[in-house]
């Protein structure tokens, strides 16, 4: 089956964008994603458990992320933990979203709306 075009997912809902970014550098479980998002945004964005797993369910169906069959952390003893990884499509979608956001900032800068950015 042909992979869908990344642009067809844009603009991304904020929760999906943050999850993609959190998974960009390493595989994570749900709570780790929450912590990463909170840390990266200085506590400004706090995903709730419902929003997180509803987004994860949708992203799994869309093929943006995948669930790992084994824990990437051999030291983890908690088998209930489920880990997620960015797929190739997920990465392309995240990049496309970043490009879209960059374009928006460029436009704002060109009109003097955001000179310092």
């Amino acid at each position: 089956m042909r992979e869908p075009k990344p642009d067809s997912f844009l603009p991304l809902p904020a929760a999906v964008y943050h999850i993609l970014v959190a998974l960009a550098d390493r595989d994570r479980h749900g709570y780790s994603i929450l912590q990463d998002v909170a840390a990266r945004t200085g506590g400004k964005v706090r995903l709730s458990a419902g929003t997180l797993y509803s987004s994860i369910r949708r992203m799994l169906e869309q093929g943006l992320i995948e669930e790992l069959t084994e824990s990437p952390d051999p030291s983890s003893t908690d088998e209930r933990r489920r880990y997620y990884r960015l797929t190739r499509l997920g990465r392309r979608v995240a990049v496309a979203e970043v490009e879209r956001l960059r374009g928006l900032i460029e436009q704002a800068r060109a009109t003097g709306l955001a000179p310092g950015m």
Binding site: H29, L34, S48, A49, G50, L52, Y53, R57, R81
Partner: protein, 905 residues
């Protein structure tokens, strides 16, 4: 975990119940972990409160989205499944669409005509009608007993003196057809009504354009158009206000257009325009319907009132009767015989609730529509049984799939939900189809009713009640017949399903067989009912009228409206008679006052020589005024004496011809020829007697209605009328050939004689009689259609169950054939089983038919409700169709290739 921790986890688990089960099973554990960890690491009370708030917020925002997602997934799956089985899907949707559509259409008309309040009227629940809502027309003369229609003076009395009604208004009881001419246009016909000047104010109806007339316009030549007519005739043009038109010489100005949706005070009629009642003398010149000159009254109005708050109907009725009787006292005074005066003063009014207005159609179609509503209810049951059968069969077919899915860990609840969703999607599509079908059926039904009542008009409207009905039925059917097979399909444990998989045993389908029998049973009363109605129509169309109707034509004119008095009318009719007789192809021509099947009739008390009446009714007889050679023209055999002749003129001795019923009643055993009949006109200001000598006796003939006995009647020459009755002529023309243009020629002659003479109608005799059978024809046509659909659905059901059974028993049949059973034997086996289904269905159906038949007894004619021939025909038809439906599955069973089948199994 601490006690508080356990408590919190329990509370969070409870919140998780808001999510769909599948989501909860997949992510519930993780979410609980996350929640617990967040709570553990929370800095303080405020942080913990925030986490709780988020959890609750998720439960009310995220959880519904997840439910929606699951539902959409189920619907997508259901649609894919339906597309994969187009035959099943089509039959299921069509069954349901037919069942609900037929019900919606009949229910819409039944409700609109019989029960729904008048559209566009404010506070219809306050309305009462002081006349009889089921009657219309116009009566000149006197009345006794309960009064059906009122005179204008009686209305004025009631309006001016009532204390229990906040207002009263009056309207012409029948819808008129008026010839009008708009400036620069040709002559066209409009349907209009004369109404009291407070009519619009009374009903709380405003103007969409211009204004409606009010008290100050009472004597102004104004008209108000209905919204529908404005749209149809003028395309909604705003410059219509102020336009003028002529109606029988009167020039009228359009004052405005009434609010959309308002049809007036009569249910299922759509007037084109309304004119103030005081314009009557101008729109019907030569007539005065507004003033009653003793001895006779002109009764033509419906009178409506609005009850004051807190006033009971009984009180308003008592007051109305007091006013009405005071009026009668002053009108009839102290004149007339005491007995007659007592009869005339004994009249009374009865108040009826009038939220749904007046309607004569209501009375005509009430029984038929109720019978049809019951019939479509049965049709819906059959459709539901069909759908249930299909869904049960599908459930059976999908058992292995369900077993596999359960064994792979799917929850039973999820599978049931998915199967029910599929049924609901089917039901929803069926309901949508039904609305389209209902619209089509509504159009067809309306056209059928119009054949019997040309003023009938009802727009197809999806009122909330009808929508709720269709939606409710679809939902109930979807849930009930979705849940049952779903429950069956997922009932047993996975292991036993899997063990059974691949082994086809005897057909399970425990529900299927009784359902098929039930379908057949329900079809039988519909078939028998349709058969009885069809025979009723046949009988009515073949009633021996007492004269041949072929080559007989009828043309009616009204000389009153054109301003003729009785003497001038006589001369006119004589002249027309001569001219029409000279038309090539005319064999004979004559005329009468009441004519044949015109809806007009006359009657009076008579005194018959040598006869002592037993009571007041006993001396009553119908009468007619006829032209020369009337009976030989119509073809009514003369049993004794002679026809009315041209020589029976004003100067000759007064003579009459009586019919058989008259002769039998008044002259039992005596020869009537030469005896005398006295027509008594018991006018309050004095009794007038006209004595006629009987010169002929004619065979009884149906001249007014098809049903019932021919009433006693006497005929007098038009040159020797009783009273002042020669104002209307219904010409009867007997032509030499079947298709001769005599009618067109006769119309031209009338127009040439006087262009202002209104031709009431011009038709062949069969066309003239047709409206008398229209109600029955309409009912029969609809009933036959529904019976055919019911039969088709039952046949589909039978075919489906048999096909399924044969498919399930392939291996058994294959083994039998392999062991030497001949194909005929296999066919016989299948047919034997079917025989039981059919027999059970017929036995139940016969019982239902017997019980239901008495409901339609009142609409039947010439056939008993339990007519054995009709029932036998219905049974035979049902058996033939049922056998045809099982032929294909039986043939398939006999044609199995044993080796191939067993290898496959």
């Amino acid at each position: 975990m601490s006690a508080a921790g356990v408590y919190k986890a329990g509370l969070y688990r409870a919140l998780l119940r808001c999510y769909p089960a599948a989501f909860r099973e997949e992510y519930g554990g993780e979410m609980l972990l996350v929640f617990s960890r967040q709570m553990r690491e929370a800095g303080g009370l405020r942080e913990r409160a925030r986490i709780w708030m988020e959890a609750v917020h998720d439960a009310v925002t995220v959880a519904p989205r997840e439910h929606w997602h699951v539902m959409m997934q189920d619907i997508r799956y259901a649609l894919r499944g339906m597309a994969a089985r187009p035959g099943f899907t089509a039959v299921a949707i069509i069954s349901l669409a037919l069942g609900i559509g037929a019900n919606t259409a009949i229910f819409g008309i039944w409700n609109g005509l019989l029960h729904a309040p008048l559209p566009g009227v404010s506070h219809p629940e306050q309305l009462v009608i002081l006349s009889s809502p089921d009657d219309d027309g116009m009566w000149h003369g006197n009345s006794t007993g309960e009064r059906s229609l009122l005179t204008y003076e009686e209305f004025e009395d009631l309006r001016d003196h009532t204390r229990t009604l906040s207002a009263a208004t009056a309207s012409e009881s029948s819808l008129d057809r008026w010839p009008v001419r708009f400036a620069g246009g040709g002559l066209e016909e409009v349907r209009g009504r004369l109404v009291a000047e407070n009519y619009f104010e009374f009903f709380g109806v405003g103007a969409r354009l211009g204004r409606v007339f009010a008290a100050r316009d009472a004597n102004s030549p104004h008209a108000v158009l209905s919204y529908a007519y404005w749209q149809r005739r003028f395309g909604g043009a705003p410059d219509v206000v102020g336009k003028t038109f002529t109606l029988r010489g009167a020039a009228l100005t359009i004052l405005g257009v009434a609010s959309p949706g308002f049809i007036g005070e009569t249910a299922a009629q759509q007037p084109d325009l309304w004119i103030p009642i005081r314009m009557q003398t101008q729109v019907a010149p030569g007539e005065d319907w507004l003033h009653d000159a003793p001895p006779s009254k002109t009764m033509w109005l419906h009178v409506f009132g609005r009850l004051k708050p807190g006033v009971a109907m009984a009180r308003a009725e008592a007051e109305a009767n007091a006013i009405f009787k005071a009026g009668l006292e002053s009108f009839y005074g102290g004149v007339g015989s005491p007995e007659r005066r007592r009869e005339l003063l004994g009249q009374w009014l009865k108040l009826h609730p009038a939220a749904n207005g007046a309607s004569t159609t209501r009375g005509d179609f009430s029984t038929s529509l109720t019978v049809l509503l019951a019939a479509v209810g049965v049709l819906l049951l059959i459709a539901c049984a069909n759908l249930a059968n299909l869904l049960l069969a599908r459930g059976e077919m999908r058992r292995p799939e369900m077993a596999l899915r359960i064994s792979l860990g799917a929850s039973r609840g999820g599978l049931v939900r998915q199967l029910v969703t599929e049924s609901l999607v089917l039901a929803a599509l069926g309901a949508l189809g039904s609305l389209a079908l209902a619209r089509l059926l509504h159009g067809g039904l309306t056209r059928l009713i119009v054949q019997s009542d040309h003023t009938f008009h009802m727009e197809f409207r999806l009122d909330p009640l009808v929508l709720a009905f269709a939606g409710g039925v679809a939902l109930a059917v979807g849930l009930l017949f979705g849940l049952l097979p779903a429950w069956q399909a997922t009932r047993r444990d996975a292991a036993s399903h899997l063990k059974e998989q691949g082994r086809s045993g005897t057909g399970r389908m425990r529900w299927g067989r009784p359902l098929v029998s039930l379908q057949l049973a329900l079809s039988l009363p519909l078939l028998a009912g349709a058969g009885l109605l069809a025979r009723t129509v046949y009988n009515l169309q073949h009633v021996d009228l007492g004269y041949p109707v072929d080559r007989l034509w009828e043309l009616g004119i009204d000389s009153r409206i054109a301003g003729y008095n009785s003497v001038r009318s006589q001369a006119l009719f004589r002249d027309l008679l001569e001219r029409i007789r000279r038309i090539p192809g005319v064999q004979a021509v004559s005329f009468s006052h009441n004519g044949l099947f015109t809806g007009s009739n006359s009657g009076d008390p008579v005194e018959v020589e040598g006869y002592a009446p037993k009571n007041g009714d006993d001396k009553h007889s119908a009468w007619d005024i006829a032209g020369p050679d009337y009976f030989s023209t119509v073809g009514i055999p003369i049993l004794l004496g002679r026809d009315i002749q041209a020589s029976d003129d004003a100067a000759a001795p007064k003579v009459c011809v009586v019919n058989e019923a008259f002769a039998k009643h008044f002259f039992a055993g005596r020869n009537p020829i030469g005896l005398h009949v006295t027509a008594v006109d018991e006018a309050p200001r004095g009794v007038t007697r006209t004595i006629y000598q009987v010169v002929g006796v004619v065979k009884d003939a149906h001249t007014d209605g098809l049903r019932g006995k021919v009433e006693r009647r006497y005929y007098v020459p038009f040159t020797q009328p009783q009273g002042d009755h020669v104002k209307r002529a219904n010409f009867v023309i007997r032509s030499a050939g079947e298709h001769t243009p005599v009618l067109a020629a006769a119309q031209q002659i009338v127009q040439r004689a006087d262009a202002g003479l209104p031709i009431l109608y011009a038709r062949s005799m069969p066309d003239q009689i047709a409206p008398n059978t229209a109600t029955e024809r309409a009912t029969a046509q609809v009933a036959i259609t529904f019976a055919a659909v019911a039969l088709a659905l039952a046949a589909i059901g039978l075919f489906g169950v048999l096909s399924y059974t044969v498919a399930r028993r392939r291996s058994e049949f294959a083994i039998r054939i392999a062991l030497g059973a001949r194909p005929e034997r296999v066919v016989a086996m299948v047919l034997r089983e079917t025989g039981w289904l059919i027999a059970a269905g017929l036995a139940l159906g016969a019982g239902l038919t017997y019980t239901a038949s008495r409901w339609i007894a009142s609409v039947l004619y010439g056939v008993a409700p339990q007519d054995p021939i009709t029932l036998a025909c219905a049974v035979a038809l049902l058996v033939v169709v049922a056998l045809a439906a099982v032929c294909l599955p039986a043939w398939r069973a006999s044609k199995l290739d044993p080796m191939a089948t067993l290898r496959q199994e």
